[in-house]
């Protein structure tokens, strides 16, 4: 898909700082495309997409939102046990997701359905987890996309270790090198493990990008419960650059992530990106956000919607017309319908399979438990139990 022109150099040692506006923004809420942005440290960010690529980004955004909405509906209808919606965070995820090169590895939380989609993965993949039929069950290496991680922050250390392995394998120091991206939220920045990941990434100059989606809340806790200064500045304390982007701007997300990943693969070490965005929906389907935030706040963020600005841009620039937008919606609708059907068709697990995959080499003790379980359940067969 899209390839952006991303700046490959940056001043050594120093921390990239936010530009005047507070963050890197290439596409305003009104759909104005800013040609390029130069940050305080002299790095210039811009993108250079073909018309087709701009339309592709729009398609991605609409599609991931539509799929997400379908999942929310499925949850409401009792078909999923839980859903963690990405509503409002599409630009952060699509921009960074598309910035990944094929060889790059991603470590998500439980909310990165948009990144997953941009990796070319069948969007049904995480539904086993949310439906309760399994706990993920995919191959991290096959998809270059690790398991969803629910314990806050733990995946940042996994990503850092994986990135150390990339270096040990000699896969950095060139434009074809590999890079690693770790996703996490604003709340996660308070976890010791995440800060240890910063320590290690700095010490080992790990080829990685820490991508923090600051959606302003950790469930009910507003940002000021996690920090009194902007989160991107956390990186300064560890000796690598931190930068804040408009997380609702897919172009900024793409440009800055691509540049940071390329720096990483080139051997220039880690970067922290703070994508300043907003969780438009509930934390998860179990949450009731009206208890802790006011409607006007949500309203004010609607004006910064990540999709409408791309649509406005495409329209103004006459890169797309109503037919195109209609076709995108229709296509997304079809994908969502297909997803729904396949989710509904997911078989429940055979109970005895819960004994599988505890140990690669098995355990005689557990084999006996499995046997007893099978016999016990067989004893009910035909008893109508």
């Amino acid at each position: 898909m899209a390839k952006g022109k991303a700046v490959a150099t940056r001043p050594s040692g120093g921390g990239t700082d936010a530009p005047a506006g507070g963050f890197v923004q290439l596409l305003t809420p009104d759909g104005e495309h800013v040609g390029s942005v130069t940050t305080a440290d002299g790095t210039t960010y811009s993108v250079d997409f073909t018309d087709e690529e701009y339309r592709g980004l729009y398609r991605d955004l609409v599609t991931v939102r539509r799929l997400d909405a379908e999942a929310t509906a499925l949850q409401r209808q009792g078909e999923l046990g839980l859903w963690a919606s990405l509503l409002g965070q599409e630009a952060a995820q699509v921009g960074s997701g598309r910035a990944l090169r094929t060889q790059d590895m991603a470590f998500p939380t439980y909310r990165e359905h948009g990144v997953l989609y941009c990796r070319g993965i069948d969007p049904i993949m995480p539904f086993g987890l949310f439906r309760g039929v399994d706990q993920g069950g995919w191959d991290a290496n096959e998809h270059k996309f690790n398991s969803y991680t629910i314990v806050i922050g733990s995946q940042t250390l996994h990503a850092t270790g994986y990135a150390m392995g990339v270096t040990m394998d000699g896969k950095t120091g060139s434009p074809d090198g590999e890079a690693v991206i770790a996703y996490f939220g604003d709340g996660a920045t308070s976890q010791g493990e995440v800060n240890e990941a910063f320590v290690w990434a700095g010490v080992f100059n790990a080829p990685m990008v820490f991508f923090c989606q600051n959606n302003q809340y950790a469930i009910s806790e507003p940002l000021e419960r996690q920090t009194r200064i902007p989160l991107y500045r956390r990186a300064l304390g560890y000796g690598f650059p931190g930068i804040r982007i408009d997380g609702n701007d897919v172009l900024a997300s793409y440009a800055v992530t691509r540049a940071a990943l390329d720096n990483a693969r080139n051997g220039q070490g880690p970067t922290l990106i703070e994508a300043y965005t907003y969780r438009m929906g509930a934390h998860t389907s179990s949450d009731d956000p009206t208890r802790y935030r006011i409607a006007s706040e949500v309203e004010s963020w609607k004006a910064k919607d990540p999709i409408s600005r791309v649509r406005a841009f495409l329209t103004k620039q006459q890169l797309a017309d109503e037919d195109f937008f209609g076709e995108v919606d229709e296509n997304a609708r079809k994908l969502a319908l297909d997803l729904r059907e396949r989710v509904l068709a997911m078989p429940d697990p055979q109970p005895v399979t819960m004994f599988d995959h505890v140990y690669p080499n098995g355990s005689p003790d557990l084999d006996e438990q499995r046997k007893a379980f099978t016999e016990y359940h067989a004893s009910f067969e035909g008893s109508g139990h």
Partner: protein
């Protein structure tokens, strides 16, 4: 004045009374303030007692417990909420190496009267890490008292006792029972209650003893009711404290019935059932007609929600074990 309320609400009342009675009591944790906790156990408390008494914290469990230690040294009585069982492990170091040991280390000169509340157990159809039963990890740690409650009345009493006690207490709450109702006397003086460290005969019986705690007490009572229809009289003991265990009550019962079955959700190997079985076998050796049997979770990670019904001990498995005991 006795009211019929849910277990969750009774905890809420107990916390409120503790906040009222002692200005040194503070509640801290993730989302405990405006939201009232994801299970609403602290609902309304921040509004009534202020942000200094009910503290929304950064998202860091070691931080919650570690700062609670400091607050306790300063003279406070922190009540920490851990959001779910599976999220207590980042705080494990602070709990087992600091909270449990400060009194010992200081030769009794420094007390850290901390309560760590942990909703635990499965049965709510949740995703990974939200249904675990980690009590054995704590019960093996000298210096910690580990308790759990099974009904609204006990919840109300025990949460207040735990807070009033100078012992550090890990307080496990049976999350799937949060919505079960029972009668609670909200005005009962704490001083009139049983001691925190005491098991309870939840249903008297004479043929076999069922040992249960937390969410499994309900299952054991149901099993006893079912067995009664078949003419078997099962005694159900609600352990209430998991460390130390109130053994006299247990030994008396098993010596009388000659049979014991322990039930818990946690994996069997290394779970509390083993310890109970070992102690009972030693103390009641000549009274036992059959070995102490255990009905527990399997030795697997807590499975996906759509398998949990088969994972969790239920009435049938419990009665099956009782049958096996009688058939020994």
């Amino acid at each position: 004045m006795a009211e019929t309320i849910t277990l969750g609400k009774s905890l809420n009342h107990g916390l409120r009374r503790a906040l009222e009675n002692d200005s040194k009591v503070v509640i801290m944790g993730e989302d405990v303030g405006k939201l009232g906790g994801v299970f609403r156990i602290t609902d309304g408390l921040q509004k009534d007692f202020g942000e200094d008494r009910v503290i929304d914290t950064p998202l860091a469990e070691a931080g919650i417990v570690g700062t609670a230690v400091g607050l306790a040294i300063r003279g406070y009585r922190p009540v920490c909420e851990i959001q779910f069982d599976g999220f207590v492990f980042p705080a494990y170091n602070q709990i087992v190496a600091q909270v449990a040991k400060m009194f010992y280390r200081s030769k009794g000169k420094v007390r850290v009267p901390i309560v760590i509340r942990i909703p635990f157990g499965g049965g709510i159809g949740a995703v990974e890490h939200h249904s675990e039963s980690p009590e054995a990890y704590f019960a093996h740690t000298p210096g910690l008292k580990v308790v759990t409650c099974s009904n609204p009345a006990d919840a109300y009493t025990m949460i207040q006792q735990a807070i009033a006690s100078d012992d550090p207490v890990v307080f496990f709450e049976p999350k799937r029972r949060y919505w079960e109702k029972g009668e609670v006397d909200l005005d009962a003086p704490l001083s009139g209650a049983y001691p925190l460290h005491s098991a309870r005969v939840a249903r008297p019986g004479s043929d076999a003893t069922l040992l249960a705690y937390g969410p499994m007490v309900r299952v054991a009572l149901d099993a006893a009711a079912a067995a009664a229809e078949d003419g078997r009289s099962l005694e159900v003991i609600d352990l209430r404290t998991l460390s130390p265990v109130d053994y006299p009550v247990i030994f008396e019962s098993v010596k009388r019935t000659g049979r014991a079955v322990v039930v818990h959700e946690a994996p069997g190997s290394g779970g509390l059932g083993g310890e109970l079985a070992a102690r009972i076998s030693e103390e009641c050796f000549y009274s036992l007609e059959a070995p102490v049997l255990r009905v527990t979770g399997y030795d697997i990670p807590y499975p996906a929600a759509r398998s949990e019904e088969e994972y969790l001990p239920d009435l049938d498995r419990l009665l099956d074990a009782v049958d096996r005991s009688f058939g020994w």
